[in-house]
Homo-oligomer: 672 residues x 2
């Protein structure tokens, strides 16, 4: 829809519905909405136009959004990929620089980015969630990790980009070896952290060249149909779900700053800001984030740098007096003012944009190096959050049980494929109260596709659920009261004895972790081996972590706690939610993973205990496939765990199911 | 013996035995010998005087050494402790400084120091193995850790020194709070590392004062009867035991330096130098070290800065052409020369003296920050070393079995005390081939003394082996072919059911670690929980590491690998020797520890293993007390391990025992 197609009566429609918008501002707003993911309620955004739009206005808005979304799809079409690199090189020449760094990230350094931050995908075609490219005048390379080497080979034009495995050669090592002497390599200081800048600067120095920050991202200059900044309505996360007011949280973190002699902390992690201000948004896929920045002062007041078009009156009221709304472009002035006052600002050199350090320090401000204090406090859920998360899991468990029954009933029809299974699961979930969308793209892997740890099903790779194989499904949802993440591995037909043995080993690891008891102060790194030992005893292992933190209606992957081989010094604390997901993968054959979410809890039932002990409360309730268990490999205590867990699954989920599904659940949760 | 008492014919005796010494040089040599620990062969040092001293000369040397040792006992007697602090303060005034740091360490940063480095003990009376003091003009404090708070209260005059627990207040924090503004705090740059210097400098800055290096240690100026630098004969560690020539080792480490672009590495760790040059000494207790420094170049040649009086002709021949002998005082010139050449020298800011950094950098040299490369390479024992260590453990096992039988036979007599038990154990060990001394002071703890993790028996605390209690004995020896370390906990009379339950839990942890199988790349931190989980399940734990590295006729505590709660990023490699020593301690009641040494080995007997797997070979053979095992708490696989282990103990050790002891061993290793 172009200017000409705006209906002459649009302004009338807007006025009639009490909207502040006019046709011009509305067009810009809709460009932003088009750049945000589609929420489960597709008309949700219209509250940003008017509190109660008329049906006529709604119809118009729908049409205009569809039009905007079709115009700016952003990534594909003209110019061709090689032409894009050529255009970037011309822009580099104009700017007088010899190279440019294109990371797959935005200023918030999160897992998902908005469509207009997909610069790496636009330039190279690579759509993986991690990677970076370096473009020189006569050479270019893209760097991806082991998860993505095959995908990169598939998506990237090897005539234009050398495709490098990060483990073989890092981007910085490539720069050190490839950058011509005297050359300047440029970066966007919003997209690199000081830690990354230091590494690239050292690499340039080794090459005899120089690293320079550029004022504007060069990709943005040549990406003509680049989407707008995303706009999605920000909603309050009410105290019923958050369990603590934003004012209380701000005071709590503020007191931490006081104790550390820090005047204020800069925040760019969307989940920190969402948690701190008790708000949720929808600017990026799968995570209820509004992209924004904030400065929290030690007195508990905050400045929130956010596009005001995302805010409705109820949200502004919800924020209260302690939060000052400011435009995103005001951040620079705010940093200059802090500098002028010689303020000490907590910044994280591994998480925050180099741009912020540079602005603050050049204005005279002092940097207090440290991590974002919201992350640890947010990871420890309060009682209200834990209660909400439990409820979300019970509702999610109903959807998962209905799905598992559906798979069992239809697996032999030969009509279930990875794609329609994932769709069916999402359909069951959509029926749940408080559903807000999936928490990540469903991993629906049949047979050999189950062995691809980060598999994402598409038409090209879609497989039916083969007979005598394993089907792995890893999925989760966002609910207003919690975020879920569950993996089940399902027997289709008669899996081989080897598959059953390895499933049982994975299950033994899962149980060992679920039953772990450990003293206060223990980290996830210390516990990791519990989940692996049964596989190690058979000479097997899996190449991913055992557990990641999960937010309360926030990111499905959050820190700072983690259960993994990698050293992690964050002690587990009661209220932390974390996944328990050992697996086993036989390349080109099958994959196994068993994942429940658990919540760290106090253990007070040990007679004569001398230490304060912790353990895990299981949050996820769905049957684990008994057909895949080799009972001879299970100890009596492991069998007790399975039977007790299944009894709880039936008790908690059974009453919510229709008769047919309940009878099915009774059978699949019968004692081993 | 003073000058007057030298017999008129001493020079004749020396000449007759072909010695290069005269009476004056001999007196200085003997002062050094007196300052070294007494070796198991008390006349060993005489080879430094003459290859084959006559009996008359020997008799004289013995008498002169006794005399020297009595004159310079170093630590006790006049002046009184308060007078020593007063003298130090006067010296501080003369030097124009306001405070002085007195750490308990020497330039080698090892566990044991020579008698003339016991400055902290001389000044304060505190004889623990870790701690430091800071003396200001009107205040002084000593800082010790949890192991030593009681001991410090016992030994230190609280009128003079505030006794601080490091966990409550560190020395640097105390300085930051206590040092007067404008004051200068001095340190000996030989005794602090750059990392420590940086911490003290920051603390002084916070106090508004300044940290300065002093040219000479102020304690040495006021410690009038301070012992000489220790002198003990250096002996070759022949290839039969070392398994690799020094030239090969130097080339191997040299090649690592080449790959890292480093010209040479500075070495001050006595075990690194002993390993690299295939030599052993006896300058400090319990560890076969010669205190010295070395510079190893990337071409594999080395300069060894060592007192030439410690060296005999055979050792010099053994060293070969690649090692240049230099006087310790030449180190300064060597660093200045490296600086002039702009050489890049590997130095470790956490291990090496600040003095070396300061000399090198002020001369223009470049520091390559990194760890001592000998440590990791040394930790991975070669086949010859592992074979020697196995043999040493079999001989040591004979002594331990004889001791355990002796305890069993006499435990009910009421005549065994902690002290005479330790003596008896040492006596059995002395009978072994290749015995060179204990590897650490025997921990011999009866009843409540067993609960003191770092207990060191003395007349004052000595207890009999009480009826119906536990006796914990942790001991080890140095043999030319290996170093041992074993702990057993023994039932005396009828220990309580609680003692037996907790013993069994410790045993379960020990077995879990002994049986662990893990992929290449796994660290000790990942395995630690295996040893703790059975205690954690009962709400119990122990506050020490689970395993430390052990040298090959070197230190009984070595790195860099470690099994502990603390993150450690060093992967276990085949050939690494490490202890397996979980425990449990009930304060004021009893202590339990079960310790074997194990060697990391490849595991190749797992059918269908997909990963290269490692495990542990047990090196220590001595029975574990069956009377303390609660069989109901043991799994069938744990019982199998116990029976298989005991069968091996009897097979390997039984044939070396006299009939009575062998019959005893047969009974105590019978199947559970």
């Amino acid at each position: 829809m172009n200017e000409n197609s705006i209906p002459p009566h649009l302004n009338d429609l807007l006025v009639q519905s009490g909207s502040d918008q006019d046709a011009t501002s509305l067009a810009a707003l809709i460009d932003g909405v088009a750049a945000a993911p589609r929420p489960s309620n597709p008309d949700e955004w219209m509250v940003l136009v008017a509190e109660a739009p008329s049906d006529d206005l709604k119809a118009h808005l729908r049409a205009q959004l569809t039009d905007a979304a079709n115009t700016k799809n952003g990534l594909d079409g003209e110019p061709t990929r090689p032409e894009r690199t050529t255009a970037l090189r011309a822009e580099m020449s104009r700017a007088g620089i010899d190279g440019f760094i294109v990371p797959r990230c935005d200023a918030h350094q999160g897992e998902y980015v908005s469509s207009n931050s997909e610069r790496l995908a636009w330039l190279t075609g690579f759509t993986g969630s991690a990677g970076s490219a370096v473009v020189l005048q006569n050479k270019a390379a893209i760097f991806v990790d082991g998860r993505y080497t095959l995908q990169a080979q598939d998506q990237v034009d090897a005539q234009v980009f050398e495709i490098c495995h990060m483990a073989d050669i890092s981007a910085t090592e490539w720069v050190a070896r490839t950058l011509p002497s005297q050359a300047t390599l440029a970066y966007d200081p919003w997209l690199l952290t000081p830690k990354q800048v230091a590494r690239f600067a050292a690499a340039c120095k080794r090459a005899g060249g120089e690293l320079v920050a550029c004022q504007e991202n060069l990709i943005d200059r040549v990406w003509s149909d680049r989407p707008a900044d995303p706009i999605s309505p920000i909603a309050p996360q009410i105290d019923t779900y958050s369990g603590q007011s934003s004012a209380d949280k701000r005071l709590e973190i503020g007191n931490q700053l006081v104790a550390q002699g820090v005047d204020c902390v800069f925040l760019s992690a969307p989940d920190s800001i969402a948690w701190l201000l008790n708000v949720r948004g929808a600017d990026v896929p799968f995570t209820p984030f509004a992209l924004s920045f904030a400065l929290l002062r030690a007195d508990g007041t905050a400045d929130w740098f956010v596009d005001p078009r995302k805010l409705t009156k109820p949200v502004k009221n919800h924020l209260g007096n302690g939060v000052t709304l400011r435009l995103p472009q005001d951040l620079e002035n705010a940093l200059i003012q802090l500098g002028a006052k010689k303020a000490t600002v907590r910044l994280s050199p591994a998480e925050h944009p180099a741009w912020v350090f540079q602005k603050l320090e050049s204005a005279g401000g002092l940097v207090n190096h440290g991590t974002d204090p919201c992350q640890l406090t947010k990871a420890v859920k309060n009682h209200t959050e834990v209660a909400g998360i439990r409820n979300a899991h019970l509702r999610d468990g109903v959807a998962v049980c209905r799905f598992l029954a559906w798979v069992d009933h239809h697996a032999n029809d030969g009509e279930i494929s990875e794609l329609n299974a994932a769709d069916q699961l999402e359909r069951f979930r959509r029926e749940n109260d408080l559903f807000r969308g999936l928490s990540f793209p469903t991993i629906s892997g049949s047979g050999p596709n189950g062995a691809i740890v980060h598999y994402r099903v598409c038409e090209k790779t879609n497989r039916p659920l083969d007979q005598n194989s394993l089907y792995l499904v890893d999925s989760g949802a966002q609910y207003l009261d919690g975020t879920t993440d569950i993996t089940r591995t399902i027997a289709i037909g008669r899996p081989s004895p080897e598959m059953c043995r390895n499933f049982t080993r994975v299950l033994k690891g899962h149980i060992a972790l679920a039953e772990a008891r450990f003293p206060v102060g223990t980290t996830g790194s210390q516990l990791d081996i519990l989940a692996r030992a049964p596989l190690w005893n058979a000479g097997l292992d899996y190449d991913h972590g055992t557990g990641h933190g999960v937010g309360a209606h926030l990111s499905v992957h959050e820190g700072p706690q983690r259960i993994s081989k990698m050293p992690n010094t964050v002690a587990l604390q009661p209220g932390m939610v974390i996944s328990n997901e050992p697996g086993y993968y036989k390349q080109a054959a099958y994959g196994i993973r068993i994942e429940n979410l658990v919540c760290v809890c106090e253990i007070s039932d040990i007679p004569d205990a001398e230490r304060a002990m912790l353990g895990f409360e299981t949050l996820t309730y769905a049957p684990i496939d008994r057909r895949l268990m080799v009972v001879d490999l299970l100890s009596p205590s492991e069998i007790s765990w399975i039977n007790a867990y299944h009894e709880q699954v039936f008790t908690k989920i059974g009453p919510q199911l229709a008769d047919g599904d309940r009878i099915w659940l009774k059978a699949v949760t019968a004692a081993v």
